[in-house]
């Protein structure tokens, strides 16, 4: 073995399988041994067998994917758990509400409340090199074909979309392929699948946080 444990650039090129210049005897010997050892190791690494497929299918058979699950949850009867201790408290609360809000004409007229549940939000991205940019997010079921953005001057892409109140996650799609988070977003989160989502929070008076 060589005293200098780092391989020369030529030795690395050699191990990459590419043509290279002459190697020192120590480099060649160690490189060959390392490749031989790695090959021996690779030969004994076996993939998990087909029993794993059965195990996975058994676990997913009784459960739906996220999209199926949501629809099923919406349309099917759901069990409700209720602690008996809450019964008198709930009754008392309803009585108080009825006494303060729901009584007859002698009660004060109800204050008009805004029924704002949707806010128009403008998304912008500077991407002069892109030939198309679209917007996808939790509000579009992550479909990339719903919100095509409009090109403006200076490589700016813009689109205004109606968003329900609450928190939304989104990304931009450049040229129909490259998904990128919003570089100007105030918060970015891991999407749990190795990617990054930008976060926008919409309140009744507009964007609370983006």
């Amino acid at each position: 073995m060589s005293d200098d444990r780092r391989f020369s650039p030529e030795a690395h090129t050699y191990m990459d399988g590419a043509p290279t210049g002459p190697l020192s005897e120590a480099d060649r010997s160690d490189a060959d041994r390392l490749l031989q050892a790695t090959e021996a190791y690779a030969a004994r690494v076996l993939e998990p067998g087909s029993a794993l497929t059965d195990a996975v299918m058994e676990r997913v058979a009784s459960r739906k994917t996220g999209r199926q699950h949501v629809w099923r949850w919406v349309f099917e009867p759901q069990p409700v758990r209720f602690r008996p201790i809450w019964a008198p408290l709930t009754a008392a609360l309803l009585l108080v509400l009825w006494l303060t809000v729901g009584r007859g004409p002698e009660s004060a007229p109800p204050i008009a409340t805004a029924s704002v549940d949707t806010v128009f939000v403008q998304f912008q991205l500077v991407a002069p090199e892109a030939s198309s940019v679209s917007l996808a997010g939790s509000f579009s079921d992550w479909r990339s074909d719903l919100y095509a953005m409009d090109r403006e001057n200076g490589g700016m892409w813009s689109l205004t979309v109606p968003l329900a109140l609450g928190e939304h996650h989104y990304q931009f799609i450049l040229d129909g392929q490259r998904w990128i988070p919003d570089p100007t977003a105030h918060a970015q989160v891991d999407d749990g699948f190795g990617g990054t989502n930008s976060v926008i929070v919409v309140g009744p008076r507009g964007v609370v946080r983006s």
């Binding site: 444990r5 990459d16 021996a40 993939e47 497929t53 459960r63 994917t65 999407d191």
Partner: protein, 176 residues
């Protein structure tokens, strides 16, 4: 004709969950060895692969490009395998491991012992180096293929593989 990833994903999302078996078989075969080499323990690797497939199933609606299900799934699997490896195996000092064949440095070691050396040496690498080394030398991928899978540039991948080789050479020393 083999069904494309995109068509299978769409069928599963439409309610035909049994079709998910196609994707599980396809990517178990394609990435299973990677998982075993990365985790270092076949049973724990199988658990990690299984969890990754179940997690992918439940998140399938968020797979934004179903035709590239493999790349999307690989990122889930990679995270799962790194987590599994972190939980089970602290970094080992290969220098303290016994010599493979005998205590003579010039002893001939057979293939099984060489393989054992690499398995021990992998524990000395950083997660990034280990992944790059496994994909390059155990799976036999090109740097371009690894870049497409991991999203890491080829120059950075070459650097990781080079450092992994240097680390293995240093760590294994005369045991190699």
């Amino acid at each position: 004709m083999e069904a494309s990833d995109g068509s299978v994903v769409r069928e599963v999302l439409a309610g035909d969950s049994e079709r998910y078996r196609i994707l599980v078989d396809r990517y178990r075969e394609r990435f299973g060895r990677y998982a075993v080499a990365l985790v270092g323990d076949p049973d724990l690797a199988a658990d990690a692969v299984q969890e990754a497939f179940v997690k992918a199933y439940h998140g399938l609606a968020t797979c934004r490009d179903p035709e590239r299900f493999g790349s999307w799934f690989f990122r889930i699997l990679s995270n799962q395998c790194h987590d599994a490896r972190d939980r089970v195996r602290p970094m080992e000092d290969v220098a303290r491991l016994p010599l493979p064949a005998s205590d003579r440095a010039d002893a001939a070691v057979d293939r099984a012992e060489l393989a054992e050396l690499i398995e021990q040496g992998l524990a000395m690498l950083t997660p990034e180096q280990r992944e790059a080394f496994v994909l390059k030398h155990v799976e036999g991928h090109t740097y371009e293929q690894i870049a497409a899978l991991t999203g890491v540039g080829t120059d950075a991948l070459k650097m990781r593989v080079h450092r992994a080789r240097d680390t293995l050479r240093t760590a294994l020393g005369e045991r190699l």
